[in-house]
Symmetry: C2
Subunit: 495 residues, 2 copies
Amino acid sequence: MELVRRLKRADVHGSILGLLQWDEQVNLPPDSGDRRAQQLALMAELHHRAVSDPAIGGLLQDLERDRAALDEADRVIARHARRDYDRATKLPAEFVTEKAVLDSEAFHAWREARATSDFAKFRPYLERQLEAARREAAFVGWGDRAYDYCIDRHDPGMSAAQIEVLFAELQRDLVPLVREITASPVRPPVDRLKGFAVAGQQSFLREVTTALGFNYCRGRIDVAVHPFCSGDAADTRMTTRYHEDKPLDALFSSIHETGHGLYEQGLPIEHLGTPLGQATGMAIHESQSRLWENQVGRSRAFWRFFEPRFRAIFPGQLDAIASDELYLAINAVALSPVRVESDEVTYNLHILLRFDLERRLFAGQLAVADLPAAWNQRTRDLFGFTPANDAQGVLQDVHWSGGAFGYFPSYCLGNMIAAQLWYAARAALVGLDDDFARGDFSRLLGWLRDGVHRHGRRFDTRELVRRVTGEELSPAHLLRYLRERYLPLYLPATR
Amino acid sequence: MELVRRLKRADVHGSILGLLQWDEQVNLPPDSGDRRAQQLALMAELHHRAVSDPAIGGLLQDLERDRAALDEADRVIARHARRDYDRATKLPAEFVTEKAVLDSEAFHAWREARATSDFAKFRPYLERQLEAARREAAFVGWGDRAYDYCIDRHDPGMSAAQIEVLFAELQRDLVPLVREITASPVRPPVDRLKGFAVAGQQSFLREVTTALGFNYCRGRIDVAVHPFCSGDAADTRMTTRYHEDKPLDALFSSIHETGHGLYEQGLPIEHLGTPLGQATGMAIHESQSRLWENQVGRSRAFWRFFEPRFRAIFPGQLDAIASDELYLAINAVALSPVRVESDEVTYNLHILLRFDLERRLFAGQLAVADLPAAWNQRTRDLFGFTPANDAQGVLQDVHWSGGAFGYFPSYCLGNMIAAQLWYAARAALVGLDDDFARGDFSRLLGWLRDGVHRHGRRFDTRELVRRVTGEELSPAHLLRYLRERYLPLYLPATR
C-alpha cells in the first residue's frame, strides 16, 4: 500500500543517515569533520522531511477511519506509524532547532565539566535538558508525564511505576548477592592475559561471531573508538576495538554487538522500514546482545568448544593460564564506580542508581543542584563506597547531556529479559549445552528468531516477553542466573 | 550570495551520493547490493532535484541580467552554473528515465557480449546509445553537433576538430617511435618481481604518496577491485589493489590516483561545490594523475630517493634485481591489444584508435555494424597486429555501453598536457631533479597548485594550458618526453 511505500522510502533516508554516522566513526579522515557535519545536517533534514510528510498523515487518517476493517499486520503498521508520525510532526520547528542547539552546547559543557570534575559547569545545561524533556512530552501529548514519555520512547508500553516495582525487587536481592561475591577471596587472573596480537584476536572473533550466526554476506565488523552496531537487516555494521592486553574486551564486546546484529538480521527484510520490520524497543534489543554476550558467551558449554580454538591461536599467551583460571577471567566480577567498566553482575547496580535519580528529578523530589550529593549517597548505599570525584560519579555518562533520559533502565531491563529468555529457551530446547559444546548455536538462534525477531514491533516489550516466556517480566530469572553462574565460581565452599 | 549557497547545498547531496558509491566499491557486504541500489536511486533523485531547483534558474537569470556588473569570480560562477543547470533541466524526464534503463540494459548486454566475444549481442544497444547521445545533444542545445557536445562535457571548450589536429600530429611521430622501442631486444625483468607481501607494499605506498603531498588528514586509501579517486577537497578517497607478484601495479596506480587526489585537495576548499572550487575537466584531471605517475614517478630522480627505501622493505625480493633492471621494469613497454594493460607509450595508440572510430560513428561515416572490422583494421594500422577476438578488441571497454562517448580522448589529452606541464615546470623550477632525489616534491606541487589547482573552473582546458605553460596545447612535449625517457632505455646504442 501507499503508506508502506512511503514509510520504506523515508527509511531509506534514515539508512543513508546511518551510513554517514557509521562512516564517521570508522573511516572519516581526522580533518574531514566539517564536511561530515554538513552531510549529516542535510541528511537529517531530508530524513525529517520524509518522515513528517503530510501525505503520510493523510494516509494514516484514511487507515484510521475504519480500524475494524484492518488486518492484524495493518493494525501494527497503523499504530506505530501514527506514533512515529506524531513525534515527528508535533514538535514545533523552533523547539527542534532550540533543542539541537542545546544538545550541542550541553555536550560541550558536559565534556568540559567532566574533564575538570566540576558539576557546576554542567548544572544549568542539565536543568535546561530536563525542562526540554518536559516540554517535549507535553507537545507530543503526554501532559506532565514526562518521564513516562521518555521511557515509552525507548520501550513502548513501559512506565516508571512498572520499572520501580521491578527494580525494587531486583535491588533487594542483588545488593547482598554482590556483597557476597565481592567479599570472596577468589581473584580472576585478568592481569595475566597479555600480548594477544590483534590479527589473532580478529580471526578468533570472526570465527566466534560467524558460529553464532552473524551473516557476513549482509554485514561487517570494523574498528571504531566505541563498539556499536548500526545499519539494519539489509546491511548490518558492527564495530569493536582491540587491545593486546585485553583480549576478552574485543571478544565480548563483539559478541554483544553480534547479539544486536542477529536481532537486526532476524527482522523480516521484506518489511524493512515499516513497523513490521523494526525492533520492538531498546530493552528487547539489549536482551539480545546480553543473552549472547553473557548467558551464552560466558558459559562453560560455549568455552568447551571455543577454548581449544582460542588456545590454538594463542598458545604462548595462554600456556600459563589453566582452564579454570581462564573461565574465571571470563567471568570476572569487581566493583567499579564506572558503569562502562562493570561486569554483568555489578552493572545492574549502576542502572538502579541512575533510574532512582532520574525518577526523583522528574518527580520534582530532587533538584539538579542536589544531584551530585544524591549520586554519592546512592553509590554508598548500593556499592559501599563514595566516588573519588564527580568525573568518576555523576558526570561519567554522556547520556543526560543529550537529554537521553529514560534510556538507562533499558540496559537493566535487557539483562532481566535476557535471563528470562535464557531459562525459557533451556526449557524449550533440551540439550542446549551439548549444542554449544559442539559449536552449534542454530537451535537457540532459531528459537529467538521465531519468538522475538520475526515479530518486529508487533508486540510491546512486556507482551513480547509474556508470549515468548509464558510469564510476566520479572527480575527473578536474572537473580537466579547470577547466583547459578557466579556463586560456584566465587564461593565454591558454600556450594 | 544565495546562488552560491544553493550550489553548495546541491553539492552536499552529490558528496553523499559519492560516499555511497565509494562505500559500495570498498565496504559493501556481498549480499547488500539491493539496499545500496535503493539508497543510490533515492540519493540520485534528491541530488537531481537539488541541482535542477527552479530557484537556481531564477537566481541565474537575476545574475545574467547585468553581466557587466559582475566581478570575475561571479562571471565564472554564472557561466558554469548556467552550463550545469541547463544540462540538469533541459533533458525531459522521460528521456532521463529511458536513458537510465538503456544504460542498465546496455551494460548487461555488453558484459554478456564480451564474455562470449559476440559483438552482435551488443550492437543494437550501441546503436541506441549513439542515438541517445544525439538526442541529448539536441535537447541541451547543441543541435547536430553531438560528438562536440560529448567532448565539451568532459573538457569544456574542446572540439572534435581540435582533437583531430592534435591527434594526427601525435600519430605521425608516435607510431614510428613505438615501432623503434618495441623492436628493441631490451626486455624488462617484470616477471622476476615476485612475492612482495601486501603489508610491505602498503607501507611503501603510504610513504610515497605522503611524500608527494597527499593529505591523509583529509583523505584515505583503501582496497577496491578497480583503482579510483573519489570525494573532494574536504574528504578525498582513493583506492588501489594489491598483487604479491605485481608490486609496481599497486604503487603506480596509487601514484596515479594521488595525482587526482592532489588536484582535488588543491582546489580552494572555501569554494567547494561551486565552479570556483571544481576541476576544469577530465583532461586536466588526467594530466595531474599522469604527471605524478609517469613524469615524476618513473623518473631516475624519484627512484634515487625511493629505491633504497623500497629495497629496505623488500631485501629478499630485490636482491637479484640490479638497479638498472628495476628502473627498466618501472618503465616497461610492450604492445598489448588491451588498453588497460598498456604502458604510457603505447597507451596513446589505444586512444587514437578510439577517437577515430567515435568521430566516424558520429559523422555517419561508419555504421555500428562495421565497427568490429574498422577496429581491427585500425589496430593493424597502429599496432601491427589484429586482436585475437572482439573481446580483446572492440568489446574490451565498458565506456560505450554507458554512452560515455568523447571520454577516451581526455586520457591522451591528459598525457599531452602532463608532458607540457612537466617541461614548463622544469623551466620554471631549476634543480627539480635534486628536489626529487631528496624526496622533496613540494616545489613541484606548489607550482601546480598555483598554476592549475587554485583556479577551479575559471579557465577552460586550452586556456589553462596556455596560461600555465605559455604555449598552445601541443603533442610535441609528449613526443619529446617519450623519446627522452624511453630511447636511452630501449635503444642505448643509438644515443
